[in-house]
């Protein structure tokens, strides 16, 4: 594999919830939300890594921790071998930029697009003063907005255009690693493609590395070189995109792929992809976090032992955290969450 750009090692992001004092008085300590619960992951220079999972699985928190918006509880982040802490130099911050999910709350409503972009360009001394105007126009061009948009305020844009402004703003700092958190889920279908193609183009042109956080598997399949699947704060499977989609080894990945609605009429599977709701990250299930929803979970093994990410017959680049990932899976049965119902 090519050169490692970012290394994530044993990363934990935990939040103490309210009511901690009363619980501490009883000697049990505060409730803890385990948003990111032991993630090991590397991102290679120039690749697009797709990070998928249900909402609440911690994928956005992981992205925010990489950018430095969430201080990790434990674990290490290394950028080109250098430790990244929560407190970062301006130059370090510039290199990792983020595009947020919600373009409504990530732009300053009182600033015109020109002001927002120019402020960044000035603060980070990206271009000489006299080139700022030209660079602003260029950036808007890049994201498919005319320079007419320069003097507009965020409220004058549609949700989609607003997201494109947000992307232009992230690109203004010429980052090396772009964390894109659901960058197209707010866009209209006919303009999603433009933005996805844009990300691809930028990666080629600027040698950008992209961590694409998304729930849309089709989008991830189209754009990513490699995919990591996250469940309740942990990575459960990582593989090259084609390999993951054609040869998924973790039952959660298999279910997730079954759940994707298909464009080809009549392609939808009859069986339900994943049953039940994701459990609370405050009180995750014992052993393998997925076992209550898993159709092949075996007792007592799966509720007692937490499987580690392991390689198998598909080579070193494909890892999965399931006791049965690389051997004959046991016969499917009704998952535990549905058994309780009857």
């Amino acid at each position: 594999m090519s050169e490692t750009l970012l290394e994530i090692e044993g990363l934990y992001v935990h939040y103490e919830l309210r009511g901690g004092l009363a619980r501490r008085a009883r000697g049990v300590g505060p409730e803890v939300l385990r948003a990111v619960d032991g993630v090991d992951l590397t991102i290679a220079r120039g690749e697009t890594l797709g990070l998928v999972g249900e909402s609440g699985c911690g994928k956005s928190t992981l992205g925010r921790a990489i950018v430095g918006l969430e201080p990790p509880t434990a674990g290490a982040l290394r950028y080109e071998g250098e430790a990244l802490t929560a407190r970062r130099e301006r130059a370090q911050r510039r290199r990792i930029q983020m595009v947020f999910q919600d373009p409504y709350s990530s732009l300053n409503p009182r600033m015109t697009v020109r002001q927002a972009l120019a402020e960044l360009l000035r603060a980070h001394r990206m271009v000489p003063k006299e080139a700022i105007e030209a660079r602003c126009r260029e950036l808007l061009d890049l994201v498919g907005l005319g320079s007419r948009a320069l003097d507009a305020h965020p409220r004058q844009f549609s949700g989609g255009q607003r997201q494109r402004v947000a992307i232009a703003r992230a690109l203004a700092l010429e980052p090396e690693l772009l964390i894109a958190d659901e960058p197209v889920s707010a866009l209209d279908v006919s303009v999603q493609a433009t933005v996805l193609n844009l990300l691809d183009e930028l990666r080629e042109k600027l040698g950008l590395t992209v961590l694409l956080i998304a729930h849309n598997m089709a989008v991830v399949r189209h754009v990513s070189d490699r995919v990591a699947v996250m469940y309740l704060g942990r990575i459960v499977e990582t593989a090259a995109t084609d390999e993951l989609f054609t040869n998924p080894r973790h039952p959660y990945t298999k279910g997730l792929l079954t759940a994707v609605p298909r464009l080809v009429p009549g392609r939808a599977s009859e069986s339900t992809g994943v049953v039940g709701d994701p459990p609370s990250p405050v009180d995750p299930p014992s052993g393998c976090h997925f076992h209550p929803r898993c159709p092949i979970a075996q007792e007592p093994l799966c509720s007692a032992e937490d499987p580690a990410l392991a390689t198998g017959s598909s080579g070193p680049a494909h890892v999965a955290a399931c006791h049965f990932a690389w051997r004959e899976p046991p016969e499917a049965h009704t998952p535990e969450v549905l058994q309780e119902a009857t």
Partner: protein, 336 residues
């Protein structure tokens, strides 16, 4: 073919704004047979949600139906009085919204919300209505209904809340359920559960669905027929099978080529240049012409009528043969 359950003809919805009149829906016509699922697909501003709301008279205060007829189960909704419409809304037709949290009453236990309609519309006793609520909750896949009926909406997950919405929609035995992006706010795994639930209910109870979504794949999975909307107009109708495999309108074709698909991995996604037009300043002629790859001189002026293609298909494109040719050269969803 039997008598359609829903017949919409020349529906026109207008907004009165200080700067003039905005026509959100312009001459929409379609039919839904008993037990059939029709998808209405379009981008934001295409008029798909306003069309759906107009069917049951749930338009915003500033909007009005200015032309056209809506017939549900033989009753003209546009001509019916307020009372009659309200009655129909509960009994014959019901609606599922995108965001169950805003559609449910936050201070009422969900069991009582489900029981409300059977009491008011079906005249059941409290006890019988409660029993019916539990039965409906079981039907929509809510486990442990006795306990869950006592919950408030905020105590339930997004998927569970949408199941409660569906139970409420079913509570007075409707013939038609209108779904406004019912899974857009949900995770893909929960979306899959809800779509399959709606499919099962449609098959087993024989209810008709009108399903509004921006997601072509969701429509492909749930509906047998589809109407594609663009800038307030229906631009193409037909069976999902025909429209998705052989689109006859350049907008449909562009949409299908631009969405990343699970089964077809393309080198690069095609995209439709530009963005949907502002309803306040629509282009003359075909509304899609500024973005259309096949545009001809006569597309730029005059109204383009909906052209019947036979086989239950229609398109609002004079040069629909160009689309057919384009698809012959490069299939939209090839080989699968």
């Amino acid at each position: 073919m039997s008598e359609p359950l829903l017949r919409v003809q020349g529906l026109q919805v207008e907004f009165k704004l200080p700067r003039g009149v905005l026509r959100a829906v312009d001459g929409a016509s379609f039919e839904v047979q008993p037990g059939e699922a029709l998808g209405i697909v379009g981008e934001s501003g295409s008029g798909k949600t306003m069309t759906l709301r107009a069917l049951v008279g749930l338009l915003p205060r500033t909007a009005r139906i200015t032309a056209g007829t809506v017939e549900i189960d033989g009753v003209d909704m546009t001509g019916a009085g307020k009372e009659r419409r309200r009655e129909l809304r509960g009994r014959t037709v019901s609606m599922i919204f995108q965001e169950p949290m805003t559609a449910l009453n936050p201070v009422m236990r969900v069991g009582r919300q489900i029981a409300e309609s059977p009491i008011v519309r079906l005249g059941l006793s409290r006890r019988a209505a409660h029993a019916r609520a539990l039965e409906l909750m079981r039907l929509v896949g809510i486990s442990d209904p006795t306990r869950r009926a006592e919950a408030y909406p905020h105590e339930l997950s997004g998927g569970m809340r949408q199941r409660v919405m569906i139970a409420i929609a079913l509570s007075a035995d409707p013939k038609l359920i209108l779904c406004d992006e019912p899974t857009t706010a949900l995770d893909v795994t929960i979306q899959d559960q809800i779509l399959k639930l709606l499919g099962t209910l449609q098959r087993e109870l024989g209810v008709s669905l009108v399903f509004v979504s921006h997601d072509l794949a969701v429509i492909a999975q749930t509906c047998s027929r589809v109407a594609v909307m663009y800038a307030g107009q229906v631009v193409e109708t037909g069976t999902v099978e025909a429209v998705f495999r052989e689109p006859r309108h350049p907008y449909t074709l562009g949409l299908l080529r631009s969405v990343p698909d699970f089964d077809v991995v393309r080198e690069r996604l095609a995209s439709i240049p530009g963005s949907p037009p502002d309803l306040a300043s629509l282009p003359a002629g075909c509304r899609f012409h500024p973005r259309c790859p096949f545009v001809q001189a006569d597309c730029r002026s005059g109204a383009i009528p909906l052209i019947e293609l036979g086989g239950d298909r229609a398109t609002r494109c004079t040069y629909h043969e160009r689309c057919a040719e384009d698809v012959r050269l490069e299939p939209v969803i090839a080989g699968v």
